[in-house]
Amino acid sequence: MKRHLIPFIALAMSLHAAESEKKNSCCDEKAAPGAEGHKLEAAAAAKGSIYDFEHEWTDQSAKPFRLSSLRGKPIVLAMGYASCQFACPRIMADLMAIERGLSDAEKTSTHFVFITIDPEKDTPEALAAFLETYKVDSLRWHAVRGSADDTREISVALGVKFKAIEGGDFAHSNVITLLDSDGTIIHRQQGLGEKPEDLIKALRGALKP
């Protein structure tokens, strides 16, 4: 028990991670070297309610925003950054595919939140313009930014890895997280261009009274 096994455990886990990378890679075929080729595999998600964070974000209308203000409704959550040319438009496309799969009643009971990993550049104006590009309903779509500290904290809880790379871009894992009406993570969709059925199914489960 007292044996010092950490390095070997770590090694084993890393090797395991290397294996699963092969399986999960979505972008291997055509990705050219450069920002679009950099992605980070997701880490595991946290247990407990994300509402336990007391983070205060600022939304696309420059208003203060707390995730817990959406208590009682499921949240579909993703992280990215507005100036991202490759992965984030695809994350938005995946989020919108989820929304399209919902009935009108389900849509009005669901919120979509995009948290920027680049709070420096992603001002409320930039985030408003970002949402505008996709013509989404700003009543249930929230693009938010927070302090570097809070951004790092929620990314760790969501298992989203990110890292600034050259040229103002970021490497980050592509994860869509579903929170139930109490803020607990109940489903995660990993990678880009995944079919939304499983997440929608979990979402319908969360919408049931």
């Binding site: 007292k2 390095p7 950099h38």
Partner: protein
């Protein structure tokens, strides 16, 4: 008031207008080449303050005493797993396995950050930690010395001999910092930035470097094996994880004092 200010002035060594608390060391600015990254380019590290020793059981006990939400029986699962402070005898009792002066371990990343926030500090970044950890007792960068690295690796391969020692008994490095190696592993702020993957060419070589021992068979890479262990370990962590030999220490930006 003046007397106190004077006293503080004497205790704190001036570093280009900044004051250094007695328990911290100033790590001068410089650059280093991380073992893994997008490129092999050197990364600039600004001067910063680093705790000379890791946070101890006694210090962490005082924190949880004042912040009940961080006690073992109160902590939310979002912030720490079931093993949080398991080695303590109770919520507010250290017990025989956790001497007051030994580093506190089995604290999650969230808990470490909460502690440091309460004392006006932060976790060091991975760059800061790795940059500082190249020092031995005479050199700021001993990382090209096989003897220095062999010493670290020896510790990585050693069984844990029960109760942790007081880090103040460890040898101070050239900056006055102790026990970065040889006692515990330590959290860094951006532990979750590893494992860059994808199809880009440099990524492929990165993966080879990380996962294939054969790829590490050059002298330089063998020398880096100690760093490799740390990167691999960090990449296996999650924010709520608590681990037997994983503790932390504080860092601070160097801010010039008011004129």
């Amino acid at each position: 008031m003046k007397a106190i200010a004077l006293l503080l002035g004497i205790l704190a060594l001036p570093l280009r207008g900044a004051e250094i608390p007695a328990s911290m060391s100033a790590i001068p600015a410089g650059s280093y080449i991380p073992m893994f990254g997008e490129t092999k380019k050197a990364r600039q590290v600004d001067a910063f303050l680093l705790d000379q020793t890791p946070v101890t059981n006694a210090q962490f006990l005082s924190f949880v005493t004042n912040h009940p939400e961080w006690r073992r029986s109160n902590v939310k699962r979002l912030f720490a797993d079931e093993g949080y402070l398991r080695q303590w005898a109770g919520d507010l009792e250290l017990g025989p396995d956790s001497p007051p002066d030994a580093p506190v371990v089995r604290v999650s990343w969230f808990a470490a950050r909460a502690y440091l926030k309460s004392v006006g500090k932060r976790l060091p970044t991975e760059d800061e930690w790795e940059y500082a950890a190249r020092a031995d007792d005479t050199r700021a960068d001993a990382s090209s010395d096989p003897a220095f690295l062999a010493k670290i690796l020896k510790w990585y391969g050693q069984p844990n001999r029960g109760t942790l020692a007081d880090p103040k008994t460890a040898e101070a490095d050239v900056h006055g910092v102790r026990a970065l190696h040889g006692l515990t592993w330590e959290w860094v702020e951006d532990f979750n930035n590893q494992m860059v993957t994808g199809a880009a060419r440099d990524d492929a070589s990165l993966n080879r470097g990380l996962f294939c021992a054969g790829g590490a068979a050059t002298a330089k890479d063998i020398a880096n094996y100690a760093a490799f262990m740390r990167y691999a370990f960090r990449s296996s962590l999650e924010g709520a994880y608590t681990v037997d030999l994983l503790g932390f220490r504080g860092a601070k930006d160097i801010t010039p004092t008011q004129p």
